[in-house]
Symmetry: C2
Subunit: 274 residues, 2 copies
């Protein structure tokens, strides 16, 4: 995965969607390496959760963005599946409801944030409001332009409240998307994942890539950097997102809190009961 540096134009066409930077040598090794990370991830998650019960406000927010079929749902299944589900707060954002449209675009985002000790996962996010909204011309140009700054200020305030924001753009190629959509059409058990809207969005591919480039460029900050994850190879995508989460959890280094009661006295009481 590539961390987008601040202050430079982003050129997605120059990012190879089949690349495996810093990754294992192949699929078998990648799947195994990801599984091996599972235990360490779950251990760190329990420490983060435990620490949260003692007043630590830190938490993680993983934001997954990408074109249709880029594997947002697959990442949740395979990577978040490595964690204890009780500590995960997953939210998939769809087209805004009437109620959501009646509020500022960040309203529904705030309501879905992880609580202290949790790992939050957004499948789509506030970025849809500068992606689909831009490509489909859903808002006036001036309002759209203001949203990037609003998002940056919002994410800055999250960071100040103890939220580690990890934003991943799952990057697939136009050809890979065609393959994946054809595969869905080829299997009746997968038809439910397909809508004709997928083909309409696909016709807007260049506009979406441009909208992503603008969003990644304007909203990669120290508080909340963007990562581009080459995602044509699913095993690499899962490995890379797991690795990113592991690095961030290790940097947090959460500790089990010390007992706020007298352990010896509690033991004695327990042993003397009845």
């Amino acid at each position: 995965m590539l961390r987008i540096p601040a202050g430079k134009p982003v050129d997605l066409a120059s990012c190879d969607t089949r690349a495996t930077p810093a990754g294992p040598s192949g699929k078998a090794a990648g799947v195994e390496a990801t599984a091996r990370m599972g235990e360490r991830l779950a251990d760190l998650q329990e420490r983060l959760w435990a620490s949260g019960t003692a007043g630590d406000r830190r938490r993680i927010l993983l934001i997954l963005q990408g074109m249709d079929t880029s594997g947002k749902g697959g990442t949740v299944k395979h990577v978040i599946g490595l964690f204890n589900p009780s500590g995960c707060r997953i939210k998939a954002f769809k087209a805004p409801t009437a109620e959501e449209r009646g509020h500022p675009f960040l309203w529904r985002i705030m309501r879905a944030l992880p609580e202290p000790g949790e790992i939050g996962i957004f499948d789509r996010s506030q970025y849809e409001d500068v992606l689909a909204a831009r490509v489909r011309g859903l808002v006036q140009h001036r309002r759209l332009g203001g949203r990037y700054g609003q998002i940056n200020r919002f994410e800055q305030s999250l960071a100040e409240d103890g939220v580690t924001v990890v934003k991943c753009f799952l990057h697939i190629s136009y050809e890979e998307q065609r393959e994946r959509l054809l595969k869905r059409l080829d299997n009746p058990d997968k038809h439910w994942k397909f809508t004709m809207g997928d083909i309409e969005d696909r016709a807007l591919w260049p506009a979406y890539q441009e909208a992503y480039e603008i969003a990644l460029e304007r909203c990669t900050t120290d508080a909340a950097p963007w990562y581009v994850v080459p995602a044509d190879r699913k095993w690499y995508r899962n490995w890379a997102v797991s690795k990113l989460l592991l690095e961030h959890l290790e940097a947090l280094d959460p500790k089990y809190p010390k007992a706020d009661f007298d352990v010896a006295a509690a033991m004695e009481q327990l042993l003397s009961q009845r």
Copy 2:
């Protein structure tokens, strides 16, 4: 696990907490059998979810109740961990907040219900309002008495809306709880799971057992039966809850929905694009 029959008094003391009814022969076989159920559970969950996208309102609500250390959290970790986390809606109920106390006791329950296609999991539930509330005398006797009927009518309405309610009482012995609490006290990494309140509640063990007997007797209905799961053996508890979920999912027999678009035309369009 034992399904509580309607209209008979419940005697928890006569249910052996170390029993393994209908279960595998031992721990190794039990762990393996549970893991083997995982694939089938995940497959049925995907079908349920897929069916939900096409208007099927059916869903599952697993309610976990039990004394401290009975393994509610462990069940979520080990059993719910077998599913795709995106389709699970997990809620752990704590002592009611000031806002929750300002509403009828079912208010916070309604807000946490699974949506169509989902598997909802309650770690504690509306039953706390006839358990802790009864034992600790938090409500007037008359109001308490009315709650059993309110719960039954509520669960009946859930069933009518497509919710399969599966209620499990994780049954451990007084001695087993002592062992588990001592183990927590013995390991500094587990101290965060312990509070002195655990010892206070333990002193009320007989009153809690009685409150459970009353709740199980009054609230086991055709719409939402209670199951007693012997839970001194963790491997059996995990196997039994997995098995119950599997049986209920198999009975629902959810199907992948048929395409509501012209598959051949979609394929052609995809192949002709650009």
